[in-house]
């Protein structure tokens, strides 16, 4: 029988194990600030 797993549990199981020290890449935009932000 198909049982609906709690989202948290499912998310826990589905989460792809990440290598230790994994740093997600910076978002592609917006880019870096060259002078200052106003």
């Amino acid at each position: 029988s198909v049982t609906k797993r709690a989202v948290a549990e499912a998310a826990q199981h589905d989460k792809v194990p990440r290598p230790v020290g994994f740093v997600p890449p910076p978002p592609p935009c917006p880019g870096r600030i060259r002078h200052f932000d106003i």
Partner: protein, 256 residues
């Protein structure tokens, strides 16, 4: 298996920066008033392939005003960006470019510029004078007095006002009006102008000579007026610049 679509361009990718540089040069080259702008941040970039080696690129750019008037021949790389304390002016631009066989060209651009919020500056720098509207009475009086003073002393051509670019009024500890304005040389000497200033017209485009003046009028505790003008000499204009003298507001301006 069809090739995977290329990863979306990041805002700091070399290709994005190259497109932004073309866009900023185009905006400054086609701006008719005020100052040159420098790139502060690439807010967003979107690429829409049109075919082999043919892409449309949509850029959202965050620019900052520099101290170089658009008429100045100074290369943008040598123009300093107005600091936060100087009351910076920001430009938000949407630019549409085409990249064809590796070459960028601007198809359209629309910009809106606005001065930074005065409240934010006062919080950080309570004594920093703020930008005022360019048709402020004291500003107009200062520009007129400064230009008269300069023309009364010059041995060169009589200068006419093109536009007021920026103005600030400090009220403490002294009452000081500081303005910057663009000028154009006329077909009169200062002497001739004394006789009949109505005859003094801006030089035709093939002889035009523009310049830029800064003036400081101290009103209290003592009266003092300082004016300094730098003429650029004749340049072949990249684009025809309307020579109407205009007063426009630093608070916001749209250009397309």
């Amino acid at each position: 298996v069809p090739a995977a679509p290329p990863a979306p361009l990041g805002c700091d990718d070399p290709e994005s920066e190259a497109a932004a540089e073309v866009a900023v040069n185009y905006i400054n080259g086609h701006s008719h008033h005020g100052y040159k702008f420098a790139l502060n941040r690439i807010e967003d970039i979107r690429v829409v392939p049109q075919g082999p080696n043919n892409d449309l690129i949509f850029l959202e750019l965050d620019l900052l005003e520099t101290s170089c008037p658009v008429l100045s021949p100074t290369p943008l790389v040598n123009c300093s960006v107005r600091s936060f304390a100087e009351h910076a002016v920001e430009g938000d631009c949407d630019v549409k470019l085409q990249k064809l066989d590796g070459t960028f060209s601007v198809l359209a651009s629309k910009c809106h510029s606005h001065a930074d919020s005065g409240e934010d500056i006062v919080k950080v720098c309570p004594d920093c004078p703020l930008l005022v509207s360019l048709n402020n009475t004291e500003v107009l009086e200062t520009v007129a007095a400064a230009l008269n003073a300069y023309n009364s002393k010059t041995t060169e051509a009589y200068l006419r006002l093109l536009e007021i670019g920026r103005a600030k009024i400090q009220v403490f500890p002294a009452h000081v009006v500081v303005t910057e304005f663009a000028v154009g040389a006329t077909n009169c000497s200062a002497e001739q102008a004394k006789a009949n200033v109505e005859d003094c017209q801006l030089l035709p485009e093939d002889q035009s000579n523009f310049g830029f003046c800064t003036a400081e009028m101290v009103k209290r505790p003592t009266q003092d007026l300082r004016v300094d003008c730098q003429m650029y000499g004749h340049q072949v204009p990249a684009t025809v610049i309307p020579l109407l003298s205009r007063v426009f507001h630093p608070t916001g301006q749209d250009t397309s």
